[in-house]
Subunit: 558 residues, 2 copies
């Protein structure tokens, strides 16, 4: 039997004009700023007018630790959104925007898959509505203003060895990771070491995704620490008077983007901060707007629940005053088998024992999510090779944890495949069973916050951090940053900091290599292990195969 | 009496929905890809369908050598377009897009001025429809693929000292002019000298602006020379298999943008190559599309006629098979006075003698343009301090040259102020008086082409070029590039290469400092003097004053 590829399905989509999608949420056509016929931004003025309305229910989709088998978190987010609409609920989804650069390295990341996709898929993987380009511009304007300030006399006494603000580009370009800039003599400035990150790693991205409105965005941008003086005192973006112009550059980008699923249900796709050095969730403004317009809002967080859900709860929900009504943890039989020790090549064969052996990874995520006071449902994202016995093994395991696992077939069937999940999730959300609270209070010490996450979420025995790091954390507490949440940057493949340690490890240590203050975004980044903020291209980049075919369609992007 | 500022006038504009503007040209709403309510791209499919139609008349607006007094070339282009519509003609204008970066250095460049403007002004000076961001992405993808190729073994044997392809950013950032890249050890590549230009200087920009369609664009991108081997043989973009992916990134950007004048007449704003190292005209595809849709198309070229009109004729028209029916040379009384030796501070006082003394600059441009076989009209762009006697002096001078000068008041009155000019231009165009031919044939030798321009346009006695440069030109001829036109890069302030030499100098020399082959764009760049391809920010960049005001409007951009 032949399955259609994601791109084939996406190209057959019967898209509705974006004005009709907006109308389903009660957005008047004049408040939709169209980008072509199938994308639009929701106007700032319209969003301001929603302030008095009631909020819908917020549902988070998260997952087990990712494996090479793939879990289908976005696919399930889309499938659940479509399923809720199918059973007569007014539902919208909120997901992140894709980064352009990586699409030219490995094959592009589609927005969902099979019959649970968001369209237009190609535009979403390329320039989309230009948000990331705006972020790149705003970021690099600040960079240029820093070196320009130094060039014209350095009144702020920036120590050029301690410029913390790098440049960004939305491209996988390892040659820019570390550079020497301002070469070429007197006219070009003062030579110094510098470098580029990929745009999604920009603190401007994190600021935009956490800001309530343009005024809040400008305040956050102003708070960014760009450099230090010789006496180690910080120099802020505000000191360079860059925050106003950066906000102007981000004026349009701050407005959430509306697109649609294959089933013509509304989808907000807005923002895309890194899930390691940032919080990995779509924008607060998109989520809040969706909650005013829909009765149910399905959203997702990056990586597995140990990173994504934890940050969603402890950073995004805490700071934005959001509270999820239910959490869906996505698992697959194949991923359970990989957690149970099966190699990728052998995933096709039935292996109930391996499924059972891998389930504790899922079990721990269920426990962790429940510890935030939110009810959990497991979605088993069905794959064609899954056997009934394997699926039953997962269901039995989850039942033994006091939760429920529901088989979903949205990839093959669209919303028909998530009716049961949607019905159950709506019941739970409507029952107001959640009693959400972040894992730690604002006033807890920074190191204690790190320990709390390491011990209660990762189940580590200890956090290892040398004196320099502990001193730095104490210094930030003294400077008034102690109330910030911590943003953990560790491997997504394991509860531990060792990517090869699958399942549900205990007794490990979490070594903290570095801590960084993202004063604009409003969190302390805690780096455990190697974190790459500028990817490189592979030996044969997918760009070599990307081209327009004779019909003008894009080939090779997926 | 109080005059309104450009931005005040622009904000009062009664814009029509872009679909209504498109309808005036017969573009169906489904073939307009909207960007908000007041900007749209014209679909590739619609443009392809126009092939069989008759062309309208092409009118070029050019100017005397620019002075600090300002000439108002774009303002006159807009005013003439509105004037033609006012007298019942179906007319469209075609101008270039603005570069984002420089707006944060000096005050932004509005699209026209007074009551002859194109709107939405702010978006046009910021991200607009994302074309320049797409060009930046396509350019930098190629850059990344070059260093990536070297990293993975350098099969093409690129000499890392001879990588000709730099990177670009749409920002004034002098710190990036000259850098050392790929530092940081084995994982980051092979350290080499590199640098950034501003996006408008990218050869990708020139390719996009000269390409007939996406297939032609991809061919041009493939032809770009990115580096040389130790044996000096060229490495092409095509060798790196980057041309397909770059074309995909430029798919949307290749579609012309439609906006409107303050009087709701259609304006295509598309492409913006540098006017020194590139040809300085809006895109061929926009001009050709406009000619299929309107009876009169008013367009402009960069800088004064010695650079802009010359390149428009010898590069754009030659390569695209276009032929102008008339040329308007814009002059102002104030600029004549400056050419006549008056300082900027003294421009307010009547000085008929200075006007007369400055007129030969105008006279030579008239002669030069006529040498292309195209009839000329002079537009005197009226300024409030101009006296009748001064205006009459210009008219008399132009009459003595066998041409006609018409006073225009579009800045103050909109199309009412250009009725006479529009009527006269339409008469000339309708009379088919033009007998256009480029200044030199394709088969002329490259050095002879440079000499032809230097002697016949600049009125220089000689071209100075050392043996190395002459050898290089001969080598390109041997390699099959001898048929290309030459693209002169010299100061815009004088016919000569000395910016302080105003008026109509003779007897000077044109020293050629460097020649570059833009094999994708299809011209040889001839650099005479210092050409800056990456501007810096001033001591107090305008970015410091750019911000959103309490009403959410952008302040400080103009």
């Amino acid at each position: 039997m032949g399955y259609k590829s994601d791109i084939e399905i996406a190209r057959e989509a019967k898209k509705q004009p974006i004005q009709e999608i907006g109308a389903k949420l009660g957005i008047p056509a004049e408040d939709l700023l169209p980008y072509g016929h199938d994308k639009a931004k929701v106007s700032e003025a319209f969003i301001k007018g929603l302030a008095g309305r009631e909020n819908g229910k917020l549902i988070l989709v998260t997952a087990i630790n990712p494996t090479p088998a793939g879990e289908g978190k976005t696919t399930t987010t889309v499938g659940l959104g479509d399923g809720l609409n199918r059973i007569g609920k007014k539902a919208a989804i909120c997901i992140r925007e894709a980064s352009l650069g990586p699409c030219f390295g490995m094959k592009g990341g589609a927005a969902g898959g099979g019959y649970a996709q968001v369209v237009p898929m190609e535009e979403m993987n390329l320039h989309f509505t230009g948000d990331f380009h705006a972020i790149t511009s705003a970021h690099n304007l600040l960079s240029a203003m820093i070196d320009n300030h130094i060039y014209w006399g350095n009144e702020l006494e920036i120590d050029i060895r301690r410029v913390a603000w790098r440049r960004v580009v939305d491209m996988n370009d390892r040659a820019l990771r570390q550079i020497t800039a301002s070469l070429g003599g007197v006219a070009n400035g003062f030579p110094r070491e510098a470098g580029f990150d990929i745009t999604v790693a920009s603190e401007v991205m994190a600021c935009l995704c956490l800001a309530d409105d343009l005024a809040d965005l400008q305040k956050r941008l102003g708070d960014i620490i760009v450099a230090y003086r010789r006496d180690r005192s910080p120099v802020y973006c505000r000191d360079l008077k860059a925050d106003g112009a950066m906000t102007v550059l981000l004026k349009d980008a701050m407005q959430p983007n509306l697109v649609q699923t294959l089933e013509n249900n509304p989808a907000f796709v807005h923002g895309g901060p890194f899930a390691n050095i940032a919080h990995g969730c779509n924008s607060v403004i998109a989520t809040k707007t969706a909650l005013k317009l829909a009765d149910y809002v399905v959203t997702e967080a990056g990586f597995g629940a140990d990173l994504g859900a934890e940050k969603f709860m402890n950073i995004k929900c805490r700071k934005a005053g959001l509270a999820p009504s239910a959490v869906v943890v996505v698992a697959t039989v194949r991923a359970m088998k990989m957690n149970g020790g099966v190699a990728k090549a052998d995933l096709g064969a039935e292996n109930v024992e391996a499924v059972k052996k891998g389930c504790p990874n899922l079990g721990r995520h269920i426990e962790n999510v429940k510890s935030f006071g939110v009810p959990v449902v497991v979605a088993i994202n069905h794959f064609v090779t899954d056997t009934d016995a394997e699926v039953q093994a997962v269901k039995d395991y989850v039942a033994s944890m006091g939760s429920e696992a529901i088989l979903c077939q949205h990839w093959a069937k669209g919303s028909e495949g998530t009716e049961e999940l949607a019905t159950r999730v709506a019941q739970i959300a409507d029952a107001d069973m959640a009693n959400f609270a972040p894992l730690y209070p604002d006033e807890m010490g920074l190191f204690d916050k790190i320990e709390t996450i390491a011990k209660r979420i990762y189940r580590a025995d200890e956090v290892l951090a040398d004196k320099k790091i502990r001193d730095q954390l104490r210094q930030w507490e003294d400077q008034g940053y102690g109330h910030l949440p911590v943003c953990m940057a560790k491997t997504q493949y394991s509860f531990s900091t060792d990517p090869n340690l699958r399942g549900a490890p205990t007794g490990h240590s979490v070594p903290v290599r570095e801590v960084r203050l993202s004063a604009g975004a409003g969190f302390i980044v805690v780096i455990c292990g190697e974190i790459m903020t500028m990817p490189g291209l592979p030996r044969v980049p997918s760009a070599e195969q990307i081209m327009l075919n004779a019909d003008g369609q894009i080939e090779g992007l997926f």
